[in-house]
């Protein structure tokens, strides 16, 4: 999983919901509300960076090792086919 280069499913996009004041992942027949951390992770899923590289960016930003959290979050989205390996 950690060498995977994640990107969003081509039919999914991140939008912002002004009613709930939250980012949301929209895709055919679905909407998944994101917290700010989730949105931050997905913004780094450009199909170029690996999961480890994304985790390194966020670990540096927050001054703590978030590799496990990032990996779990993206694994769940890969399982749901909302994120794919570029």
């Amino acid at each position: 999983m950690n060498e995977v280069k994640p990107r969003l499913w081509r039919l999914a996009r991140v939008d912002f919901d002004p009613v709930r004041q939250r980012p949301v992942l929209l895709y055919p027949e679905g909407a998944m509300f994101l917290n700010d951390t989730g949105a931050e992770i997905l913004a780094l899923c450009d199909g170029q960076r690996t999961v480890d590289e994304i985790a390194a960016v966020l670990s540096a930003k927050y001054g703590a090792d978030v590799t496990k959290d990032v990996t779990e979050y993206l694994s769940a989205l890969v399982e749901r086919e909302l994120v794919v390996d570029a």
Binding site: L11, D15, V19, L26, P28, E29, A31, E81
Partner: protein, 358 residues
């Protein structure tokens, strides 16, 4: 205050070129009042977005029979809704598809009745297979998100492997395989439609294998038939919880089959705001949460998993929408679930146009 809804199904018209015997539209279609105007729909969509709706399904009947579909979709896009067109595919010509793309339609869902053209046309009651295939090709050409949906029943369930291959060959991103739910015309036709347990058991491993095989290429959603389940489905994710339907005449329903619950009065967007209907109306409050539940639901450990099942089915089969869905093995009326099959002709969906406008 209830939490905001996420999904609105806009039934733009009950008019349809197909005559499918499993349609969930009202059986007494001729009684339907005049359809909402373009301005009505635009107001409804603005109100829906302000209320929190993100996903818009444009359905019917056949929504492409509305000449103002482009205006409605353009408005949906402008207010920030993700639009899905749920269509038979009939009438989806290349120029019209291009216009729908230009105004912001994102996702097209085309129904297919079977992999076998002669069976498909027997079910639809009309020549339609070539037109559907042509529509699918146009949808792919224009790079819409594309789903195929197939309602399953006794006449096509044995073809499930071929149906999956058909959807893949059409280039579908998603395939919805939904066993018939017995409301509306489907309830009238249930003896002719209901599959056997053997058919369902044979279909399951074929679907499971295909889900794995097509992973990453085509998402497959398989909806089981609740008549053969032990516990009911978590209908609509809970009554008045995430979903609402606006019928062609402007009535607002918690699900597309709720029109049949005669003990409820449904408010209309011609008279009330969508937010008032969602938050305050008797029909939406009737079965929200769990205070309405009776036994065996009230003390059931599953009540927050399935919400007592389907209110429409409870009403249809027991005469009281507050009862447990009789699909549930704990229901004292479970014996009302009738899985008797009979090789009788379909009673086809018909709709005389006289009552409709636009």
């Amino acid at each position: 205050m209830p939490k905001p809804p996420t999904t609105l199904l806009a039934e733009l018209t009950y008019r349809c070129p197909l005559h499918c015997p499993y349609c969930s539209n009202p059986v007494d279609l001729a009684r339907a009042a005049a359809e909402l105007s373009t301005d009505d729909w635009k107001r409804v969509l603005s109100e829906a977005r302000a209320l929190g709706v993100l996903q818009l399904g444009l359905s019917g009947g056949e929504p492409m029979l509305r000449k103002d579909l482009e205006d409605i979709i353009e408005h949906a896009r402008a207010v920030g809704l993700y639009s899905t067109l749920v269509t038979s595919g009939l009438g989806l010509t290349a120029p019209r598809a291009r216009r729908l793309k230009d105004v912001g339609l994102e996702h097209v869902q085309i129904s297919f009745q079977d992999s076998d053209p002669s069976v498909a046309e027997h079910i639809a009651g009309i020549r339609s297979v070539d037109k559907k295939r042509a529509a699918a090709a146009i949808v792919k050409e224009l790079d819409f998100a594309f789903s195929v949906n197939v309602v399953l029943h006794r006449a096509n369930l044995d073809h499930i492997g071929e149906i999956i291959e058909l959807a893949a060959s059409l280039g579908a991103d998603r395939l919805e395989l939904a066993n018939t739910q017995y409301y509306g015309w489907a309830y009238e036709n249930r003896a002719a439609l209901i599959p056997t347990k053997e058919q369902l058991d044979a279909a399951e491993p074929i679907v499971d294998a295909a889900v794995k095989r097509y992973r990453g290429r085509m998402q497959i959603v398989y909806v089981l038939p609740d008549y053969y389940q032990q516990y009911p489905k978590p209908c609509m994710g809970g009554w008045g919880n995430v979903y609402l339907v606006v019928a062609p005449d402007g009535r607002v329903l918690p699900c597309q089959a709720a029109w049949q619950i005669e003990s409820l009065a449904f408010d209309n967007v011609r008279e009330r705001s969508l937010s008032w209907i969602w938050e305050e109306s008797d029909a939406f409050r009737a079965f929200r949460g769990d205070a309405w539940m009776q036994e065996p639901c009230r003390s059931c450990e599953r009540k927050h998993l399935d919400f007592g099942g389907c209110r429409c089915q409870a009403f249809q089969l027991t005469g009281d929408a507050r009862n447990a869905d009789p699909v549930c093995i704990k229901s004292p009326q479970h014996h009302l679930i009738d899985i008797t099959t009979a090789d009788v002709p379909y009673r086809y969906r018909v709709f005389e146009h006289a009552a409709a406008s636009t």
